[in-house]
Amino acid sequence: EDKVVQSPLSLVVHEGDTVTLNCSYEVTNFRSLLWYKQEKKAPTFLFMLTSSGIEKKSGRLSSILDKKELFSILNITATQTGDSAVYLCAGRNAGGTSYGKLTFGQGTILTVHP
């Protein structure tokens, strides 16, 4: 059974701090690793990573994948209160005819204080 584990489970920081969220995965026929941000409602897509060592960047957020060690990190620099959310990591398998299945981690709850 595919498994995705995130750490830490929760994190409290002050505005301006830099945070690193971790995601390790065990996914059969691994295809890609996705990061989502979930505020009070639906998860919103951040990044999809398929290749090792290539950093994806969007503003203050960046992420990288290590397919040898089976993990990914999400970095957020100069955090703002609007970054407070649950960050979800999901591994996608190659999955036959089904375009693959996402297995989600339990999420990291990030709280940014002013």
């Binding site: 639906a42 919103t44 897509f45 999809m48 375009y99 299945k101 996402l102 999420g107």
Partner: protein, 112 residues
């Protein structure tokens, strides 16, 4: 572009009652997913449709849960009868083939 629509947004029922949720995916998205997200956990896939066919329902508790997507567009998920442990947010997502999934706002179900 309109997003994934779900209704109702909230539902409170008593155990052993029935409940149904509705989802309308993004126009043109052939793949539709239903997830269950229990408080403090990540979403868990219940069922995946490709057009109107089921391609993965391995984690759907089939004794009480059912889902259909008759015309390959919108979908309904039903629980009958509901149990206390079914209290969760039910998320619908859609994708254009094997690409990024876009999520709807979810339906928060409370079973008393």
């Amino acid at each position: 572009e309109a997003g994934v629509a779900q209704s109702p947004r909230y539902k409170i029922i008593e155990k052993r009652q029935s409940v149904a949720f509705w989802c309308n995916p993004i126009s043109g998205h052939a793949t539709l997913y239903w997830y269950q997200q229990i408080l403090g956990q990540g979403p868990k896939l219940l069922i995946q449709f490709q057009n109107n066919g089921v391609v993965d329902d391995s984690q759907l508790p089939k004794d009480r849960f059912s889902a259909e997507r008759l015309k390959g567009v919108d979908s309904t998920l039903k629980i009958q009868p509901a149990k206390l442990e079914d209290s969760a947010v039910y998320l619908c997502a859609s994708s254009l083939g094997p690409f990024t999934q876009y999520f709807g706002p979810g339906t928060r179900l409370t079973v008393l």
